[in-house]
């Protein structure tokens, strides 16, 4: 009986295993293979060593996405909190409104922002000004915030709405002022939501290439643009090496962040 169960289980898991191998493990192996070979296919460290040239691009990508993530957090946390505290039927409406822009393709949204903010675009003709917005770092950060904000709000909302309402009363009864309730109870309890929100905004903004191409006006490059161009021009090996280093960097930062969540949850119990 038990054995039959495990056979059933492995049959049920087979498609997932197959999927993971075909679309996750295998591509990873291919990336690693290309990263460590030269264009003739023989083993080489040259791609990895040449990455030092890309350090400024890595740094700029990281900087812009850190700023964008921070802005998302500042805007997203209160938003998530307000939604979570609203009446249940209102909550559905708010969430739908938040998701509504995401029903439109990201590329189209970004292109529209470009058309609106452009030098001769909608905004400038409406205000009759000549603001130069597209082509600046600010425009790219704006694009990242606009495109990825829902990814920050949703996990925080889920987390905050799960917090027992009695917590607030209990904290007030024990003498906390509203601000203290927020900083000592609600905020620590929603850390896991914040961490996953930050992850979900930071990772796509570091590796974005479309937003920076359209809103950055192409005068500077983010690492996503660099990777894209390597592959388009057929420099597969360098492209693979950059992708590999990207993955490792993201993995490291995620594991660091996850350590904070664990210890934080431990802290809440105490």
């Amino acid at each position: 009986m038990k054995k039959k169960h495990s056979i059933m289980r492995s049959i049920a898991a087979a498609p997932h295993v197959f999927w993971s191998i075909l679309f996750i493990i295998l591509p990873l192996i291919i990336v690693v293979y290309y990263a460590f070979t030269d264009s003739e296919g023989s083993f080489s460290f040259e791609n990895i060593l040449s990455l030092a040239d890309y350090a400024p691009i890595f740094a700029l990508s990281l900087e812009l996405s850190v700023i964008a993530t921070f802005i998302c957090l500042i805007i997203g946390y209160p938003m998530a909190y307000i939604i979570a505290k609203a009446k249940p039927e209102r909550q559905k409406l708010y969430i739908m409104l938040l998701m509504l822009p995401m029903w439109t393709n990201l590329l189209i949204r970004t292109y529209s922002i470009m058309a609106i903010l452009d030098d001769g675009g909608f905004l400038n003709s409406l205000l009759n000004t000549s603001l130069h917005i597209v082509g600046t770092k600010g425009a790219v950060i704006f694009g990242m915030v606009y495109d990825f904000l829902p990814y920050m709000v949703l996990p925080i909302y889920t987390c905050v709405s799960k917090i027992d309402k009695n917590m607030w009363e209990a904290a007030s009864d024990l003498g906390c002022k509203p601000v203290q309730v927020m900083t000592r109870v609600i905020l620590p309890l929603s850390t896991s939501g914040i961490i996953s929100g930050v992850t979900m905004v930071l990772v796509p903004s570091i590796s974005t290439f479309y937003i920076s191409q359209k809103l950055g006006g192409g005068t500077f490059e983010l690492i996503g643009d660099t990777i894209e161009r390597q592959f388009v021009t057929g420099a597969l090996n360098t492209g693979a090496a950059i992708s590999l280093v990207m993955m490792i960097l993201i993995l490291i930062s995620l594991s660091v962040m996850n350590r904070f969540t664990d210890s934080d949850e431990g802290g809440i119990i105490v």
Partner: protein, 442 residues
Amino acid sequence: MTKKSILAIIFAAVLVFSLFSCSDEGEDGGNNFNGKVVTLNVYNWGEYISDGFEGALDSNAAFEEYFNTTLAEKYGFRVEVNYTTYATNEDMYSKIKNGGGSFDVIVPSDYMIEKMINEDMLLEFNPEELPNFVNIDDAFKGEGAVYDPGNRHSVPYTYGMLGVIYNEALVDKEDYADGSWALLWNQKYKGKILQFNNPRDAFGSAMYFLNLDVNSNSLDVWTAARNKLAEQKPLVQGYVNDEIFNKMTTASAAVAPYFAGDFLIMASQNDDLSFYYPKEGTNYFVDAMCIPKTAKNPDIAKEYINFMLSEEAAVANALYVGYASPNKVVVESEDYREGMAELHEDWYEILYGVSPAEANVNYSYSPIYKSFTPEIQSHVNTLWESLKTENSTELWVHIASITIIVAVVALASYSVFIKKKRSRHYRMRDREIAKARAGLKK
């Protein structure tokens, strides 16, 4: 059996039957020829063939009709065109090279044709076999096809030249009057100049300007072009590709390099736009129809190419695409002349008034791009990156991001510190309680 599984079986049965009935339909129509239908796989650029929009000819459907009514008997089967598109030569190349699909007709650009010939990927054939090949202008035949001398692998489909588009309302006459690449380097139009966001065309503009060989194998030549682009960078509003359409028609930018055929479309949306071929020389490209070696139906592919050279199809395609046509019949066609005149009154001057040879009299090298060696390719990539990273960071970005990182790290370590302190406090308290209990027991 549960209800669900019965439903599932019914669904599966319906699906299987619908599959069969589909193929039945295909066979019914062709009962004259034992129902045999052959699929011709055509792989072309996006927006590169007349698709029947607004009553124009649908070239692919027209070919099917032509073939199935006049040639089906000869070949013994009917044909169905499976038309797919690509966005870059490189996409198409890698798909065919890696066996990502079998295609019968493809339309690569000159340098890609050369590369594919060198790699033995294209079928060799005699274009004179195609009755309509006589329609092709002699300038594109024989030695005229520098990428494929004698047209042994390719039949020209479109051609075009790179020029400078400018907005008459925003650019002073004395600056564009001499028709030079220098307009793209003019300090006066700082922040109003666009440049290509791909290394080949961007470097190209600098190299034609400096009279350098666009196919040079010398690293120094490319470095010189890069320095010229670096000189231009502070003036550039953006490095863009297809956004040029939007930015030029809305007058967000005043000057941009782009292709003549695309200029006609932009000009039909904004009357202020004008165009010239730079006097120093400029890029000239040919896109031509080829048959890959892996093609399953090379004979049908030749019929298809021949049909696209016919007046009916060639005129419709040339009107739709907007680039110059190497087909003599097209330029003489009344329909074509009328259609183009609706786009721009000087369409003829712009597309055909200057031949590639005339436009490049002052240029010392071949204006056609050839494929890069891997060494040059990687050098150009590196130069392009160095151009993009030059002066690309601003102080406030550093300050803001470093402040955030420092704040987050400080907050995190503070909370870790507080927790450690708290847990030490509790541990000590526990120990004291345990001690007290032990004392009580005694």
